[in-house]
Symmetry: D4
Subunit: 248 residues, 8 copies
Amino acid sequence: MPIETLLQAVKDGSMDIATAKEILSRAPYEELGFAKLDTHREIRTGFAEVVYCQNKADDFLVQIFLKLYKAHGEVMGTRCSQTQFELLQPHLPDLIYDPVSRIAKIMKPKEGEGLIAVCTAGTADIAVAEECAQTAEFFGQKVERFYDMGVSGLHRLLSKVDRLQKANCVVAIAGMEGALASVIGGLVANPVIAVPTSVGYGANFHGLSALLTMLNSCSNGVATVNIDNGFGAGFLASQINRLVTRKE
Amino acid sequence: MPIETLLQAVKDGSMDIATAKEILSRAPYEELGFAKLDTHREIRTGFAEVVYCQNKADDFLVQIFLKLYKAHGEVMGTRCSQTQFELLQPHLPDLIYDPVSRIAKIMKPKEGEGLIAVCTAGTADIAVAEECAQTAEFFGQKVERFYDMGVSGLHRLLSKVDRLQKANCVVAIAGMEGALASVIGGLVANPVIAVPTSVGYGANFHGLSALLTMLNSCSNGVATVNIDNGFGAGFLASQINRLVTRKE
Amino acid sequence: MPIETLLQAVKDGSMDIATAKEILSRAPYEELGFAKLDTHREIRTGFAEVVYCQNKADDFLVQIFLKLYKAHGEVMGTRCSQTQFELLQPHLPDLIYDPVSRIAKIMKPKEGEGLIAVCTAGTADIAVAEECAQTAEFFGQKVERFYDMGVSGLHRLLSKVDRLQKANCVVAIAGMEGALASVIGGLVANPVIAVPTSVGYGANFHGLSALLTMLNSCSNGVATVNIDNGFGAGFLASQINRLVTRKE
Amino acid sequence: MPIETLLQAVKDGSMDIATAKEILSRAPYEELGFAKLDTHREIRTGFAEVVYCQNKADDFLVQIFLKLYKAHGEVMGTRCSQTQFELLQPHLPDLIYDPVSRIAKIMKPKEGEGLIAVCTAGTADIAVAEECAQTAEFFGQKVERFYDMGVSGLHRLLSKVDRLQKANCVVAIAGMEGALASVIGGLVANPVIAVPTSVGYGANFHGLSALLTMLNSCSNGVATVNIDNGFGAGFLASQINRLVTRKE
Amino acid sequence: MPIETLLQAVKDGSMDIATAKEILSRAPYEELGFAKLDTHREIRTGFAEVVYCQNKADDFLVQIFLKLYKAHGEVMGTRCSQTQFELLQPHLPDLIYDPVSRIAKIMKPKEGEGLIAVCTAGTADIAVAEECAQTAEFFGQKVERFYDMGVSGLHRLLSKVDRLQKANCVVAIAGMEGALASVIGGLVANPVIAVPTSVGYGANFHGLSALLTMLNSCSNGVATVNIDNGFGAGFLASQINRLVTRKE
Amino acid sequence: MPIETLLQAVKDGSMDIATAKEILSRAPYEELGFAKLDTHREIRTGFAEVVYCQNKADDFLVQIFLKLYKAHGEVMGTRCSQTQFELLQPHLPDLIYDPVSRIAKIMKPKEGEGLIAVCTAGTADIAVAEECAQTAEFFGQKVERFYDMGVSGLHRLLSKVDRLQKANCVVAIAGMEGALASVIGGLVANPVIAVPTSVGYGANFHGLSALLTMLNSCSNGVATVNIDNGFGAGFLASQINRLVTRKE
Amino acid sequence: MPIETLLQAVKDGSMDIATAKEILSRAPYEELGFAKLDTHREIRTGFAEVVYCQNKADDFLVQIFLKLYKAHGEVMGTRCSQTQFELLQPHLPDLIYDPVSRIAKIMKPKEGEGLIAVCTAGTADIAVAEECAQTAEFFGQKVERFYDMGVSGLHRLLSKVDRLQKANCVVAIAGMEGALASVIGGLVANPVIAVPTSVGYGANFHGLSALLTMLNSCSNGVATVNIDNGFGAGFLASQINRLVTRKE
Amino acid sequence: MPIETLLQAVKDGSMDIATAKEILSRAPYEELGFAKLDTHREIRTGFAEVVYCQNKADDFLVQIFLKLYKAHGEVMGTRCSQTQFELLQPHLPDLIYDPVSRIAKIMKPKEGEGLIAVCTAGTADIAVAEECAQTAEFFGQKVERFYDMGVSGLHRLLSKVDRLQKANCVVAIAGMEGALASVIGGLVANPVIAVPTSVGYGANFHGLSALLTMLNSCSNGVATVNIDNGFGAGFLASQINRLVTRKE
């Protein structure tokens, strides 16, 4: 209810002051005791909530999957363990599970719009890439995957430049030294979202090396999200891609 | 010259093989000895080159300002010291200097398009914010400034939410604990670019605290650039905003 | 025995010099060989000892629980594993265990005094919050819980401001970017104790991000304890709340 | 104006809807363009604003000192350089300057209430300690100073324990290894605020060593603020002390 | 064979040049292929070799225990797991194992000389302390143990000062904030060896906090060894104590 | 096909333009969907691909081993677990496994050329050393091993100097403080490749100490690879040694 | 006055209770307001106080130099700037200054006892070494200097081994990779004090590399002090050397 | 004098035993008191000593330049300030100075042999590159320079691949994210020496970002030296190049 309507109702006498005050202060969330479900989020952001499964208590996980599925007719969870999937599946028989991305979902058929390119440096980065790509697809975006294009064999990347340049947003996912983001950033005109991964060992310090590489990129138009944060990159890429598709 | 045209010319005999080979391998840059001017950049990215003045030798700085001004009828340099401005000005009498952002520029009049919101947590972050805002304006974007909206006095930010929600992209610039990015990220639907600044002391470790805050944001749709990198944020915001304005 | 009394007794001859010297140098603790139980602590601080169970050898754990229960008719242990609880329970049949906070306790009924507000940013922070809240309750304070108020959905927090402002001390518990402490710090007049948690991944570096955020808070009146240190926050909040309740 | 009054006025017709809406959304701050003065702060926190002078532009510094002096009849600035003081003094002839704490102030005479103990480990920590002590005094608290009580000569500290135990709050300020906070924390019953300083060299890493020491204190009831943050400690100590004095 | 003797033999003709050259270049170690046993060590340092068991392959572990036992009639291994002990025991039936210090040894009866004081801040530091104390005892030194003397209950430490002052060397072992070393350093006249332990959590960063504390000690006469390095401290303390006992 | 040949064929009409364009853009790799096998690598570098087994999915691991074995009649994988070996062996009955270096391989008999010296400080570094040595041997180089030459018993190293000086390249592998590389660097005239290992504990910070030691070596001619990167050192040593053997 | 004497005096009536109580609580230091001079230190440690000049206020510096000179007939200050020396000299005409070690002193003639060896890796470490050596000499120890013995030219060190082995304590001072301490530690039987210096650049991180090297030394009998802490090493070496000389 | 000759002379009686012993123990360096000139170095390594000027005392700098010039007829110093050059020049009138590389030298004419390629990512890296290139030239190697080939404009690098592939060793010098080393490593067959530079700001942490990038390179055949260590890279490249040229 917009504030003018409310104030008009007070003026009209169709709503008493106590009620108006209560409505004005009422928080647009659902109090569950252990959590405050932010039911207002989809209105604010345009994207329904996705469940971050890791470390969630079993009871809560089931409750929230059911609640979201009921509200939207679809639901998606990230960082979902095999065990958590097995817990959820009896409640949601249509739930499917992808062990690579660790995503569990029931998803309505959608025709993706626009174009997001999701790239990885190596095969070990695919888990993060799939979390990213499937997130964007869940939000209704069209995604093209370009895997194993690390800069140590540059010709693999160069052969795909034409297609990368067509995307509204490119996601560059890499561990070890993370140079992929800079090289792509120098070749395309649209925004590049860089996702450092924890792939590597020793002086990669669990993803720090790739993170610093991406933050210090000599190419313009590159922004970075947290280490291994495929979901965050997929969300942001969807926001960017939506700026274009909204208008088409 | 597209590759089909070239190959056709070889077939036609209108171009000999040596020439064709030379063209195919010719790099689209200008060799200056000390530098390889990337004259191809504007074609690739749509934005002309901006000069990063810091640590550039005097001679090179003058050469590149003149060359770019001649090519485009306008020119902009970031991180330009007062001394560097005084060096450049005799060569470019129309050059103006802003000591806050440390930007020197000659800029054609432009009507900015779309909308980018540039926000700071405190007044000490304004230097970075102006580097960001003026970069976007130089690239032809419309910018609105929202300064001194730190979360310690939340009502200042809340009073501007309506306007922030209208922007195609919001840039959140903050030092110290850098919480501004997360709070804005929770309130708007379009992408947020977070710029940590080195403002603060002690355990801010020259911007590390704000950087980590922004990388770990609990709000979706937030990506981060390097500490104090106002130019990078302005460039990226322009790319995002352009996705919308291109189509209008 | 006050020093005047002792000196008087020496003067009177009712105490010989050797005894006086021995008393003056006698340490107010109980030597167990492997430990020196600080039986003087409650006198100094007003709060009985709480057992930090982690890594304690089984024998010692049982001994100290029994000794403290016998002395006070109640006892509490933090960071108590399920296994440790099962070890203790045969010795203390009334012992109850909370697997969320990992607290094992026998507690006399108390009417909490004053008011401490314990807040979390997310549901994953509840384990630390319960360690904090139950510690304060064990020390006789009144606690109100405000869970899942992360800044990505600010309306949840704003709807509780009135109640937070009534507390003598607010504990703000958050992982990831830890912005909750700064936002609350800007809204209340009494002290805020910030507890960073290790919740998150990647560039949170096991709680470092939230720790730095809280140390660099732009809000006044915020002090920080160790990562995941719910007990420490509960102890300190109790000391602060007691300053008020002592006088009522 | 309380929300009931406003809604009543709308109902009465004594205020039209547009006005009501405008008031509801009006932010309680003063827009200066470069800054949003948080004039609401004193109402929220009970303490008037103190100016953080470092890096403030000259014009703004003068404006805000004048504005605050006019509003309150007193004014205080921290981290004020000698040069800044000389800039301000012609505008505020009664302004006095303390080069040790780098505080510039005009302060009404006050009778401090309650008791805050401000302690340092060494003489090099006195600059931070004076910033803390004078902040608390400006806010109307009574402060006692205990300087140069480092644990390498423990008898100096032990001789003052009685007086420390009388304070409502003890501030422990130390650089190098920062052990002072733990030792005091074990000796007093009221809260201890620990302030690490950057005093030292080498592996102190600009205050990191003392910071980590204080965060890991084995004593209960110790909370930590940023490195060299004397003002923050003074503010928080004032909040804690006020909990007692308010009631007397 | 001293070099003069060798040269004399060459001159005498009792040794030919090839032999002399071979002796001069012969290394005083035993080549095992996978290892070069430094049989020269005891001659150089005066202390027999102690086996660092961790990560040693099973075969090698057995070989070296047998070889050293045969040579000296006693043998000691540190960081020996229960499993390793069970592997060794059939070969060395007199071997005894202490699960606290993780030391396995066969030790000749010795009357310890001089005095080394081994102190801990808490009970969790006892594992490191026993590694230290038993190492020194194996090398023939007299050790007195002072456990659980953390600075949060300072009277426990103060009651032992007289005895600490009698030691030729004091080892101060502490985790968390590690303040024990500085406090002891201020109370005794002989060298203090500080051993940081990894005891603690969160911002202790696996022992970094105690390590930095000890390196930055405000007390003179404190030197630090690696985190959890009880053996190293015991070795060094033995060297220091031996300087005194050698002469008695 | 060289570019001149291709252009000539276009001119001749023996190749049509579409075909020529397709060839020019065709990437020299094999697309497997989940990976882009860089079949071009051996041509570029002269060394066949070695499989990095860690974290590779089972199916992919088998496929690539078979493919490489078929192409070359030999194959080698590093960081291969016992489980992975058992997965591979049924497909490649001649595969042998070395649990120390964790290398699985089928290798043609070769006569190594030139000389690479592979040295370790301790026995715990042998796993990394064998990964290095066997990599070089797989690439056809001659390797001599010098194990357990840590600087704490310098005579062991000094007795081998003559042989180290004969190598075209020396690999110095060490954990803990990593001093071996500097000492060897001061004794030989050819390049030294330093490999820090994660051997040690506490303040070695998982290999950081040895890494920094090697990067800061006071000896000239020392370059460093990633922590525990035996393969990388073996590859680089092979490149250096090949510069000599190619010409013999 | 020993405690028995005092108690006896109370018993005798020769001292009244108030006086006795006052004496018992009187701290053995001199209160200067800004400092508490620890006049008790020499009694506790056997070494007179040395002034750490850095950052001391001018007035205090002069006062303390004069007070110490008057008490002992000699005085020494470390980290004394040229400016501070010029401030002090008019008050103490016999004061001499060494710009390399930055020590200012008036020292009685002494015949050094025992033997301490002070070694450096390079010439840039001499400043720290002289602070160490002159500290030990001021405390009456005999010192021999061995400079520029870095491990990149090992023969320089090897030629001095005989003399190093004669010292009761060896101080090893090195920047860059700091390997000197380990090499010496392997060659001598008495304690080695390692002093990392900030000499170097880049990945030495202001002394961190040498610090970690020394803490992780593979040689036994090595303990480490703070970066550039020549005074601390000199003090500790004096304590160790004194254990021997006291008895002679 | 070889050891056989010496022993033979002893046997012959042409050298007495005392003399022989003295020679055997005589160190091949020149003792200057403050330094031990390693005159043996050229014999060991084949390259004459280069002076590291930074922080060298004036007197010593002059002495060593004169001594080396006299010995070799040429001399080179790195990290030489303008002031130091002006100090040296009166003593060595032929000395020339390059303010970019900060090298001062007198160099005999040489015809460089073999081929080393020295590459930079940007113009700001040229200072380090010239230190590298001129070092190699001083040691008699042939160097080709490839400057400003950063990966943000990849075509600049690709146009030079043919020439890079001809070098015996490629030096890749880059700051910011340092991706250049990985990209080159994927394109050439000979060793790549990576030099991280401190060029950049913010999260480059003075070169740490480029350093980690290079250590974690996904390309084989890349080894890393210290941040900004142009000399070290030039020395190592010369050693590698010499392996080839020695044989021609």
